[in-house]
């Protein structure tokens, strides 16, 4: 049998997958089994597919994804902890034909930045929010987040989260879905190829909603933090399916247009 040269295989016509154009060659710093990398790739693919690299402004948070700006070659603003929706509000209002998205962790969005996300969504800002919920503060070494499950052990809940001490995990996505300014709210994950495809669709829809100017699009991705959870990548996925999905069920929470001023007129009549 003749030897096969690798060069004969790596050819344009044999290509079934390639790295998104928008993703840079910088090596990502994420831990093995972390959901951030896949979530980044999906945002990059959507930007590629929609051909909007020159019109997209990303707002990176404080959290493990603070350096997202090194991985996607678009224009970025790095926000103070929790304030990404405030930055996005201004960027979108001042450049209404650009695509503006925030990328935020659960500590960033649901704890210190709870006011900013609620009010940006309540104003119905035409932005897309990518919310990475790994139920923990990854970056600072695995402390309890508002989203941490009851009984879950973290660096600041070493005996497990207790409702006495710490209250209850916050379903902020459910809160957001109540707001009339919000058009689209969904909860997805990236732990299987099928889930990845669904999440990509959701992100695409979130970006397309900006064209329609119908209000905020909010995409939660229930995520793993293998380092914070102290589990292997495989075990992390299993733990997420078993525990996280029960409390944070996947699926769409809202898919509509932002409610009109007309529907509120009755309250002042």
């Amino acid at each position: 049998m003749a030897d096969i040269d690798i060069k004969d295989i790596i050819k344009e016509e044999n290509l079934i997958y390639t790295k998104p154009k928008v993703i840079t060659d910088t090596v990502m710093h994420y831990c093995p089994g972390c959901s951030h990398g896949v979530a980044h790739k999906l945002v990059a693919e959507v930007i590629d597919d929609m051909d909007i690299q020159d019109k997209t402004i990303g707002i990176s948070p404080v959290g493990c994804s603070v350096l997202a700006y090194n991985y996607l070659d678009i224009d970025w603003q790095q926000a103070a902890h929790g304030r990404a929706p405030a930055l996005a509000t201004a960027a979108k209002r001042l450049m209404p034909n650009h695509y503006v998205f925030t990328y935020q962790g659960d500590g960033d969005l649901a704890s210190i930045g709870a006011a900013e996300i609620l009010h940006a969504c309540n104003r119905g800002e035409n932005i897309t929010v990518i919310f990475i919920n790994n139920a923990i503060y990854g970056m600072t070494g695995g402390q309890m987040a508002p989203t941490t499950l009851v009984g879950m052990k973290t660096a600041t809940s070493p005996y497990g989260r207790s409702t006495e001490l710490n209250g209850y995990p916050l379903k902020i996505t459910e809160l957001i879905a109540q707001l009339p300014g919000v058009a689209y709210v969904t909860r997805q994950s990236v732990h299987t190829p099928a889930a990845v495809r669904k999440t990509k669709k959701a992100i695409r829809k979130g970006f397309e909603n900006q064209d329609k100017k119908i209000g905020t699009s909010f995409i939660e991705i229930v995520s793993t933090c293998s380092s914070g959870w102290k589990l292997s990548p495989v075990k992390s996925n299993e733990w997420m399916e078993e525990h996280m999905f029960k409390f944070y069920p996947l699926g769409d929470l809202k898919d509509s247009e932002k409610e009109s001023e007309e529907s509120y007129k009755k309250y002042i009549e």
């Binding site: 070659d73 930055l87 509000t89």
Partner: protein, 362 residues
Amino acid sequence: MGELKLMKGNEVIAEAAIRYGCDGYFGYPITPQSEVMETLMLQKPWETTGMVVVQAESEVASINMLYGGASCGKRVFTSSSSPGISLMLEGISYLAGAELPCLIVNVVRGGPGLGTIQPSQADYNQATKGGGHGDYQTIVLAPASVQEMNDHVGLGFDLAFKYRIPSLILTDGVIGQMMEKVVVEDQKPRWTDEEIKEKYGDWATTGKQKNRKGNIITSLALESEVMEKHNIHLQKKYREIEENEVLFEEFQTEDAEYLFVAYGSSARVCQKAIEIARAKGIKVGLLRPILVWPYPKKRVSELADQVKGMLSVEMSAGQMVIDVKLAVNGRIPVEHFGRFGGIIPSPAEVVEALEQKIIGGK
């Protein structure tokens, strides 16, 4: 050209911003400066110049909206009063770190805490010594009239963009609330993205173009060598501003044997105090810093060779007096006189303080 009007200081800030071609305002109500946003909302500039006006959910949000807008290369401003500015300090440090041009107006009220809604100058240290975390400065303008409230909007933006630095207008409830004649400028057009690029370079987040990598606005550098380099760059810029942008005004200093040093509304009180003192035969003049950072150190130092003593008059427990003392460096007596907690000193009190603390004390 321009147009003559009778306006409140706070109102003219709004009017001047629109006419300057400002792109956006983000703010949260607080006395004694709420007229700024109220005037903007009444004027509806989004229908004329296209300027964006947003009532934010807090000062934390408004300063971070400012960061978002400034990152886009737009000319954006916010206004607040003391407790609100305290809340903004993390954001102001980020703005300084990321070298974003913008304008922040502090109509100072008495503190500490919730304090009083009456005028004060007790935020001088916060404004001129950075205020938030890290080694940084903001340009600080100190208007003493409604006309200067108008002028400092344009000057503040010009300096902010020239050096890519936040500018802060440090004023108080007296100047903010009082009505005076003011000449406002004719309407200027807002800049286009292209004009901004041409004038100030292609650093803003206006969408990645083919000929450049993505623009990144950040204050983060994980390697300490990089962070030190950035700090050295910032310090170099601050020294350059200190060299080039000092601005002050003098009253009757030619023959002065004593000197008042005062900014903003205290300087107005001192002008009257000079009249009273000179009628008594005391030759006193006034040095009024128009910018309090950079500070007119050199001029204060020169005047120390001429006069026998200086009195820093401030509506605070004595903050600017430290800058005066540093410039004088022990050569002549320097004292402070101030009323605080919202009280404006009377010209007679100021003269009395000069007589007791400086003339009597020599």
